[in-house]
């Protein structure tokens, strides 16, 4: 851990907030992507069943 001196809280909170926001964005993106794949698969099965 580098010596951050009197600005440690500012630097660490900037990194925590940014990485947290990026993590939420990536998490939501991947979850929605998987849900979309499942939705499309279900729709394709349904279309096949109905001819």
């Amino acid at each position: 851990m580098p010596e951050l001196g009197k600005y440690a809280i500012e630097v660490l909170s900037a990194y925590a907030a940014s990485l947290g926001l990026l993590g939420v964005l990536i998490g939501i993106t991947l979850r929605r992507g998987r849900a979309a794949q499942a939705t499309l698969k279900a729709a394709e099965m349904e279309a096949k069943k109905n001819g």
Binding site: P2, V24, T29, A43
Partner: protein, 244 residues
């Protein structure tokens, strides 16, 4: 071979599935290297102390916040002129990534500004234009969600994107337009090449900027694929009589 062949959703999905593993790997490597190098491997600045380490998040996020809007502008223009659905969906897919980048730039800017300027916020030209850009992103996303017909939504959001581009330009050049306010000028001017950042800070910053750019690309391509699949599923359900 024409670039327009990728306006075909099937070809776009095939290409994106091939390039995505490399893109994600490159993005993760560059972002991780840039941030770790910047955080652990650079000294404190003589004036700003350790707060200079915030630059490795703030500058790349601000850069991508503006560039994301320009990417949306190009995709919107392609939609308006050529009516390619993939371009409209790519613009839609980029907006949440752009708004998060804008939010990171605003939050890290406030955290950096407090110890350096003595205030979290000032109605400075660049800060204010960035806040307006954030509000445009919110409006753009809300408009997509509010309109049921996807083509009408694409039309109206494209027009909103054109209007918002004024603020994206202002966000980038506000410091030059109005020579006042707390925010400094661009530290890494691409056009003139006259950067004011020392090499020891610049190289990790460059890696971080490349990483944020690659991460943006990876996210937008993945999210565009998601939008294409959702659109295709809705169309299939509409054809089989169940509605979207």
């Amino acid at each position: 071979m024409s670039i327009w062949q990728y306006a075909n959703p099937v070809k776009f999905l095939a290409l994106s599935s091939r390039v995505q593993p490399y893109l994600w790997a490159a993005a993760v490597i560059c972002v991780t290297t840039g941030l770790l190098w910047g955080f652990f491997g650079t000294p404190d600045d003589a004036r700003q102390g350790s707060t200079v380490k915030i630059i490795y998040l703030h500058v790349p996020a601000a850069l991508m916040a503006i560039n994301a809007w320009f990417m949306m502008l190009i995709a919107s223009l392609i939609w308006l002129v050529r009516r390619h659905h993939v371009s409209a969906l790519a613009a839609k897919a980029a907006a949440p990534v752009g708004i998060v980048m804008t939010l990171i730039a605003l939050v890290t800017g406030a955290i950096w500004g407090q110890p350096m300027w003595g205030t979290w916020w000032a109605w400075d030209p660049r800060l204010t234009s960035f806040l307006i850009l954030f509000l445009f992103y919110l409006g753009y996303i809300a408009l997509w969600e509010a309109i049921e017909d996807p083509d009408t939504a694409a039309d109206l959001t494209s027009v909103l994107c054109l209007v918002g581009s004024v603020f994206a330009i202002l966000s980038r050049y506000a410091v030059q337009f109005w020579n006042q306010g707390l925010h400094q000028g661009t530290s890494v001017p691409v056009a003139t090449g006259g950067r004011t950042v020392a090499d020891v800070f610049f190289y990790p910053l460059l890696v971080s900027m490349v990483g944020f750019g690659l991460l943006f690309l990876a996210l937008v391509i993945y999210r565009t694929g998601t939008e294409i699949r959702l659109r295709r599923a809705a169309a299939m359900r509409a054809r089989t009589g169940r509605g979207a």
